[in-house]
Symmetry: D2
Subunit: 440 residues, 4 copies
């Protein structure tokens, strides 16, 4: 079915004044910003999962998409047709990267042996596709949540056999990721949580997950995988509560199991907001804890309580995020993966392109605005002023431990200190950001 | 103004059939449950702050309460009148414990020196009141959030002088807590957070707080305070984001600064729900991480996005919580503090009693139901069955590290394992809980 | 597959002390409360939809249930097997009523003609089943949301042909409901809303829905259907925004199209909370507007942003609701329909019973507590006192229009009135409710 | 204290490239867009309430602002000083309009007589200020929520004397608004709701409010006030539930009391989001119901559950809103009122200007982008296509009532219709909007 996208050409950059809906207006892959091309900064990826495996069903209705590669047929043949379509799309939309879950690309089969065989077959297909198209793998992962066997968890399952089954998939998917030159391996714990505390032993399940992640890290080193292991936090859905709730929670988890130098986070925008945080908050927190890895670049809906996985379209939301990423050194092995779904009503082949083009232009524009903010130093100089006291004598002495609570209190009361409060300048800072977004 | 509550007698236990609204129907202080009296299990406390310092104002309206001790007058004299009223109430409602912020009990004065003097005076007053009434101090704390100087944080303030001011209050309040025999010292970071990430250095502020909490722990040991240091998590309000968001976040924070064996959490019910968790979740998480300390026993409103600090009235919500606390050994130094507010429209002296009686009866009843659940073993035996596999050969071998990812996967694929999924029995477990709550 | 529930007997009432998990502890169908039996008050129903049509899939995973009647096979034969199982269950669990969507009971077929033929066949099957078992139909409805044709709405679809298709199903389902003696007909607008305002004409879509509902009411009268037409409000999910958001919204809609005396609401608990209201609020609002019709008796999860459709298990939540329903005359044609789902992990046949038994006992207990509250008059007398002024001269004169704004203001200023505020007694009222729930 | 803003000049338009933080970059008052000036389109107003009456307190802390006109002193003298400062600010920031609550501008006094006298005095002061500065009054209103007497409601109070007191204030404030040439009169029901359903008679309170609003409308006509009466919906805060929850709720209320042609809505951005709607939704709903009146142009915080009343800063959020307003004829008597608060930490005089300038530039830019969208017709033509069927024979016949449910169903089944579903084009539409926002 490679002909599915035959009517479309490779998407080109045509500039802000273009009226062609199938062109980039802002993403100019080879344009240099602060010493790197846009392509190198943004490291875009498109996903197999939502694009090619989902048929448009939701909890109240059947699929709407009618994709040829989702018809009944020989499973391996259909998987190859899907790969043809997928790589045709990836190439045409122009993301340098793609990503997959194991069973997105290879049939799960009727047993773990069949699964294992199918993976072998399909990894060769993917390797060949990568060669032909130049596509690179941003990350691989294992789907240990869709099959009924995982209904009570994978690593955190009360049955150690299910743990073993999940371990087999992860082993296979890690090896496949390495073989395909993947730059990261993602752990998303879709069922690693609980439905009710009444039947759940939190400490036990946490220890199981801790052991599993240690095994993953050990295996990474054993096989010489040089990419990054990423945990993707999410607070809930499908579970009532997921153990990797948010970045701060993941940090504590990693510290407990001695993994904080081995694992980073893959932050998905809508997961941040479902956890009660802004996207910016999760990124800033990950950076401040040394955990920033990669981004699933979708968006949620501020009024809806589930993961809508829409394409990003807010330059305003993304500019401060890009600002923080850029001034902290940018992506290393991570990138901007569109782990995004078309709307269930967006059933046309062209809609695939509209979604990704909009998302890529949004992020590209935010990158430009962020670079402008960095270069102007308007924000950074205000922030530096605000904390200047901590570079002074008192501030340094406090932080280096020269004071005890008693000696500090005694001095402060003795001096009868009376510190003044000064403006936080929030509105002014917000105006500066908007000046850079909208003033040219 | 000790006569404020003169029309009320000490509240007595009269049993479930009592129709006296000013009697306990379920809290029978000396009744023995699983080897301890209700009083020993529940360790109730009433607070100074909401009961005697708040005048009923809210963000849209002025105070409604018209309390005599809040009239204009000499600050120290009014503080003494307030102490008279407070201890009269504490004694009559019959909580063995009370709690305070420094400036609840002593006038803040016009300088840190005045504050320090006022604290000395009022600590003697409180000591005498404790002697006279037999009241004990569950915890003390310092209010480092209400004064304008703390608008940008206390320990996390960009100005180290404000840090020093806060340290002086904490030093004073810790010493006072020790002198009064307090069993815990609480750190609530009301302004320890941010309003906008644009003016905030997350890493810097986190390190400031880490150093402050280390100073607190060092001071505890220096003065020989044998109580527990407690952090009270809250996700937001008054700040946009508070650093001690929830228990999982606090755990990561403590691990980072080497404090996880020194500090525990004081969980407030409404703070749990504002953070997107059930109250039960926060308690179970704290227990599973070894952080469970104490409880601020109020409730929120499921439809409102701020801390309503209402009195607890749900036996259904509290029973599973008490079940977890009880089967994990109960409170040590912690207790059930009513950090609760009367509704702004509940302006009568009698309303103080209605609020506390309802809260105490709710918790007492939940304690009885929890004991019944424990004794029946109906839930614990179902849970034990559910995880039985982890006591078997495979489970043990996984957890002790006998398997690598590869050896486990190889064995699982070789055996072509096919684990079955079994019912999670959620509805049945919920029915068991309700049987214990409602069936006698 | 009638043998699916062969291992189960009809569920019996055994009283509060029973330890049999497959017995009622509180629902005693023939027990008389305030002049009617529990069965007559509660009018329980069980549903076809979640119980027998859903296979346990969710948005992240495949079905877990493995029900025999959901296997591949001849569609009409499978529909008959499903009816056998369903009526066996309905009879054994002992709800007097059941409910269905058209395509729950009859295969949708490959065309509207096939659908129409299948409905004829299956309505005879259902009629016979009703005769055999004595089951009665609480309500019927048409599913105009699951098929891909309805992805952009049914009555509110931009394409009038889809409107016509939906009208055909509603026509068929209304006639079927009448033929089977159904007591209500439900309109749930699962897709009657929007995904984005950018492609939506709100006024146009509202007028389409208004016309559709007028057609429904006209048809009701034409065929002599004596039951009640019910709208089931829901704020969102699957749509971004559903037009029948909540009861207050439905009221405005009905007023606009002159339908306020013809249509009532079917309130689903979780839809209330997703709309930002308590369940109690929606019931009290419906009663105050004269719109109260029926209830879908499920519950949501206070921390999750989607419709979890769990079985009710909170006597505390249901008691004030039952109090309001009972003191306002109880159900007329409506009842308590369990539009509830087993948890995806609750895969055993016994779990069907655990879910419904827990729900029925919860509502039965709440009915008893509500009757106790009514009989004591403790709450009603406090409320009557509170509003007494409106039965006085000033209150009556204001409400009957004797005052203009000017005359009232002139009098008030002239008299220099100074009304006092009195306690709202909230904590006391909450204690009264708990006294009735827990004191015997 | 007119010298408070002496260091500031009138804010000027300097264009997008200006680096002056105290200049407009986008709001060019006299620039003509689609036939009207920006000033005429946007009708900006600044408010008395948050700017000059609030001292920076929040529920956890004291005021931070230290404004000279909020010091102790003779109440009328301080009110005059406040008016000097306020009009100096209004004039310098350059909004053509302002707004006030009665007690923002005149001291409430110790009795309703004193209040009435103070209002007379201060209305003369305001009239003179208007004359001197050319400022116009967008709306007046009465504060019937801050005083303790209103703790249980104003119009909906259980005590008719409180209703009379509120009526006196409304009478006085309406007359004042007329006298000052105000273009609207606003009713915001801050306490018109409930805290607990247990002590509340919903039907009674609704009827009281209905009567009050009828009295207001009658008075409007009696005094010949030609402005618009506006209700400002809000779902909650300070109450648990406010009766004018959202626009749809207000519509039903107005229909019940026959006021739908007399009253419109004043939509506040953050009130929309607290009610679970997007701002755009509330505006589009109001327009579709013929209720659109005016806007309180603030913003909320997507992660916080209370009204933060921040200045608008999202061109992305405002562009579709302006698009809907503009293509439906723009404001009539309404306008864009900054019912906005500086952050509690924004304590400098300059912060007043930063906040308003940012808000005005945001709305001005959104206006330009909206005009561009209208002129291109890209969105409107897609929407027109989408609904084209409703202008065809079938569509028209359905809407004019030519079909009954039966005749439509009979025809559809007879024809065996099979409507196809077509793409909703959401991503494409979103890209079109962003093209207009960002492509020049
Ligand atoms: Co993702
Ligand atoms: Co997602
Ligand atoms: Co607290
Ligand atoms: Co609180
Ligand atoms: Co329902
Ligand atoms: Co539902
Ligand atoms: Co407003
Ligand atoms: Co507001």
């Amino acid at each position: 079915m490679a002909q599915y996208f035959d009517q479309f050409e490779k998407i080109a950059y045509e500039g802000p004044e273009s009226t062609n809906p199938l062109a980039f207006r802002h993403y100019d892959a080879k344009k240099v910003i602060m010493g790197k091309t846009m392509e190198e900064h943004l490291r875009f990826g498109a996903c197999y999962w939502h694009n090619f495996c989902w048929d448009g069903f939701d909890i109240f209705g059947a699929g709407t998409f009618d994709r040829p590669w989702q018809k009944p047929g020989n499973a391996l043949e259909m998987a190859k047709m899907k790969a043809d379509v997928a790589f045709d799309f990836f190439s045409k939309v122009g993301t340098p990267y793609y990503s997959f879950h194991d069973v997105d690309v290879a049939p799960a089969g009727n047993s773990i042996k069949e699964y294992s065989e199918n993976m072998k077959v399909m990894m060769d297909v993917l390797a060949q596709k990568q060669d032909e198209t130049g596509m690179k793998l941003l990350w691989g992962t294992a789907n240990a949540f869709s099959n009924a066997r995982y209904m009570s968890g994978a690593g955190s399952n009360p049955n150690p056999e299910v743990f073993a089954y999940a371990a087999s998939q992860i082993f296979t998917a890690m090896n496949a990721t390495k073989m395909l030159g993947g730059e990261n391996y993602v752990l998303w714990g879709g069922r690693e949580g609980y439905e009710t505390l009444l039947n759940t032993d939190l400490r036990q399940e946490r220890e199981q997950l801790g052991r599993l992640f240690q095994m993953v890290v050990e295996h990474k080193h054993k096989i010489g995988f040089t990419g990054t292991i990423l945990i993707e936090p999410k607070p809930a859905e499908p579970t009532k509560h997921q153990y990797d709730y948010d970045t701060a929670t993941v940090y504590g988890f990693l510290k407990q199991f001695g993994l904080e130098d081995e694992v980073k986070v893959n932050i998905e925008v809508n997961h941040a907001t479902l956890a009660g945080h802004s996207f910016h908050h999760e990124i800033a927190t990950a950076i401040s804890l040394g955990l920033f890895g990669s981004i699933d670049a979708n968006r949620g809906d501020a009024q809806l309580g589930w993961d809508t996985d829409q394409f990003p379209n807010s330059v305003e939301e993304w500019t401060p995020v890009m600002y923080d990423i850029l001034r902290n050194g940018g992506f290393k092995t991570g990138g901007l993966m569109f782990d995004t779904k078309l709307r269930r009503q967006s059933i046309d082949p062209a809609d695939f392109f509209h979604g990704h083009i909009g998302g890529m232009d949004t992020c590209a524009l935010a990158l430009e605005k962020a670079a402008s903010l960095i270069e102007s130093q308007e924000i950074s100089s205000i922030v530096a002023d605000r904390y200047a006291g901590w570079s002074g004598d008192l501030g340094k002495a406090i932080m280096t431990g020269d004071y005890s609570l008693e000696s500090l209190a005694t001095q402060a009361i003795g001096d009868n200190i009376d510190p003044k409060h000064v403006s936080g300048r929030q509105e002014e800072l917000e105006n500066i950001v908007n000046k850079h977004i909208f003033s040219k």
